[in-house]
Symmetry: C2
Subunit: 412 residues, 2 copies
Amino acid sequence: MGKLISTHTDNATEAGSFDRWVARKILSIIGNPALAFVLHDGSTVTIGDGQTSLRLLIHDRPALWLLAINPELYFGELYSEGRIDLEGGLSEFLNTANRALTARKSPVVSGLIYSWVKQLFINNSLDTARHNIHQHYDIGNAFYEKWLDREMQYTCAYFAAPDCTLEQAQIAKMDHVCRKLRLEPGQSVVEAGFGWGGLARHMARKYGVRVKAYNISHEQVAYARQRAKNEGLDEQVEYIEDDYRNIRGEFDVFVSVGMLEHVGTRNYKVLGRVINSCLKEKGMGLIHTIGRNRPGYMNPWIAKRIFPGACPPAISEMMNIFESENLSVLDIENLRLHYATTLEHWLSRFNDNIGQIREKYDEKFIRAWRLYLCGSISAFTTGRLQLYQVVFTPGENNNLPWSRAHLYDSHQ
Amino acid sequence: MGKLISTHTDNATEAGSFDRWVARKILSIIGNPALAFVLHDGSTVTIGDGQTSLRLLIHDRPALWLLAINPELYFGELYSEGRIDLEGGLSEFLNTANRALTARKSPVVSGLIYSWVKQLFINNSLDTARHNIHQHYDIGNAFYEKWLDREMQYTCAYFAAPDCTLEQAQIAKMDHVCRKLRLEPGQSVVEAGFGWGGLARHMARKYGVRVKAYNISHEQVAYARQRAKNEGLDEQVEYIEDDYRNIRGEFDVFVSVGMLEHVGTRNYKVLGRVINSCLKEKGMGLIHTIGRNRPGYMNPWIAKRIFPGACPPAISEMMNIFESENLSVLDIENLRLHYATTLEHWLSRFNDNIGQIREKYDEKFIRAWRLYLCGSISAFTTGRLQLYQVVFTPGENNNLPWSRAHLYDSHQ
C-alpha cells in the first residue's frame, strides 16, 4: 500500500458537496446498489429511497477518492488496511454489490473485449506462472492446514447432500472425479496442478492407479512427497516439480482440478495440444475449474493480492482447449453452489482458528483473507462465478458408458 | 439433377491416365482413405497398398468428374441417381471416408472460417425458415410413420441400456428431458419446435404441466393438434403454427428438442433474447441438438437435399445463446452414440417397410433416404457429429438440485 495517498490530515473537515457527488458516482459505477456510504464526517450518502441497513464506513477522504478511481480494486485494499469498514453484515453487503454489478446495464467494456484483454495481458509464461504460484501457495503449508480438510483440498468440494461435513464432501469430490474418469486398477494417470497432492494419493490408494503429477509450487511438492512417503504411496505416485507444458509420456487419464484458473486463456490451445499428445486414443480427461457465465475479468483486487494471473473462463473460452484438437466434450457439470458451501466451511474454520493464525500473520493479512473468503462465497452465491467439471475424450473413442447412472450408484 | 452433365456417351471408351489421376485426386481430397475406386471401364484405382474390400463403382466418366469437383455434395447426388454404387458394405465405406475426413491434416478452410461462412450464408429468416422446414417435414406424415416410433419422435432417443426397444428409448428420452427440467404439476412450459408434438403431450399427460408449443411445419401442426384432441390433451397443450421468434409470455420452463439444428448460428443471440424474455427468474431451460466437436459445416448434400439450412453447432457457438443473456449453463450431456443406435432402429424399420414406401416414392428418393440414414449412423459412430443436451437457468437462480442423482432414481 506504499503507493497509496494516505494522508488523513483533512479528516477533521466536513464532507462537502463534491465528496457527496463522488460517493454517488461510485454507487452509480457499481450499478446503484441499495447501500449507504458513511463519509469521514459521519454524513450519509445513498441512492434511491435510502432504505438500507448495509453501510460502508469510509474513514478518510483519500479512501473515497481511491474507491472512485477503481472500486473493485481499492475496496479490497482499503478494507485490508482498515480504512473502510462494513456495518450490517459483510456477506449481505457483498451480495448486494455483486448483484448490482451483474445487473449493470452497460458494463465498462463488453465481454468480448475482456476476453481479448485477458489474452493480451495475462501471459503466464513459464517464469511468470512460477512467480504467481509462489506468491499464493508458498505462504506456508501451516496456514492452509488451519482451515482446509485433512487431505488439503483447496478446491470446491462435492456436497451430495448439503449437510455433509467438509471432510466427507472433499472425499466425495475426489470420488466424483474418479467415477467420471472411470478409473480402473493399473491405469496410468497424469495430473496437471496437484495442490498438496491429495487427489493423486486418493486415486492411487482407492483406485489402484499410477499417477504422475505436475506442480510448480515448491512448498506443495515437498509436502505432497512427504505425505506420499508416510502413507506408503510413493511407489504409485510421482510428484514432479514442473510446469504442465512439460508433461511427457502417454496416459490413460488426464486430470486437472483447480489449475485452469491459473493458466490464462491465451495458453488454452497449448494446454489442448499437451492433453492431446499425452492422452491415449481411448483415454478420458477431466478439468475442474472456476469459471464464469460469460467472458469477463477476475476481480482486480483478487487478481493483484490473492491470485496473481488468475482468470476464470467462460465455457466458450474453455472450448479453445478442446476444439482444435478434436477432443470431444462428454459432460459438463456446474457445481457453483457447492463452492459457496465449501467456502463457508473454510471461513468457519478460519474464524475458529483465528487465535493461532494471529500468532503468525498481521491484521492486514487476516482482514484481506477474510474478505477474500467472504467475497468468494458471495461471488458463487450470486452467480458471479461458476464451477465447471468438464469430461472429455479423443474424438473417435466409442468406449463410452451408456449413461451417467454409474456416478450415482450407492453414492456416499 | 437436371443441371448435372449426364451424358453416358463416352462410357465405352477405356479410362485413361487422366481419369486415374482424377480418381487419385479425389481420394487425396477426402484424406486418403483405404477405399478402391472402380472406374467405368472396370479398372481400379487405390492409394497406398490397395488392400481393401471397400469399392466405389463409378458407372460413368462425368460422375467421376463431379466427384472431383465436390465429393461431399455429389457423392449423395450420384448415389441417389444410381450412377455410383458401393461394394463391401455402405456403413464400412462411410465410416472409412468419415474417419479420413476427420484426420485430414489440412482442411480446406479452418473451423473459424466455417463459423463465419455459416453466419453469413445460413440466414434462416422467417420466410427462409418456413420454406426449409416445409421441404423436409411436409413430405407426408405417413412416410415418417413408417419408421419412427409411436410418439413420432424424430430426434435422438435415450438408451439407458443399449438393448432397449426404440419405443422404450424414446419415452426414456422424454423422461430424461423432463427430469432434467424438474417438471412439477401446474407449471407452464414453452416448447420451441415441437415436431409431431409427442414431447408436449408426454409432459402434459405424465407431469401435469401446461404446454404452449411452436412449430412452423403446417403438416406437423395439424397432426399434433389432432392427436392431442384424440388423447384428450387439447386443454393442456396448445400447438401454435408460428416461429420461435414470436414466442410471447412468461413460463417456468423453456424446452427445445431438435430445433437448434435449423436455427443457424447467426440467430443464436436472438434465440437467447427470446429465451431470457420468456423464462421466469427461477425458470429452467433445456436445448437438445445435434452438434459438433468444433465449428464446421454440414455435409453439403444433406444441407441441400435433406435438411436445407441445417447447421449443427460446436459448444463454443452454442454459448452465444447463453452468454450475452447471463444464462447459466448447469449441465451438458453428450449422447452421440445414442443417436447412432436410434438411427439404426430407424434404418431397420425403413428397410422392413420398404415395400409400402416404394408404393409412394421412387427409387431415387429411397436411395437418397437410405444414404442419409446410413451416413448419419456413420457420422455419429465416427464422431463427426455429436448430440448435446444443455440445461440452463437464469444466472441468479439458486433453486438448484444438489446433485444429478435424481435423474437416475429408479430409472426405466
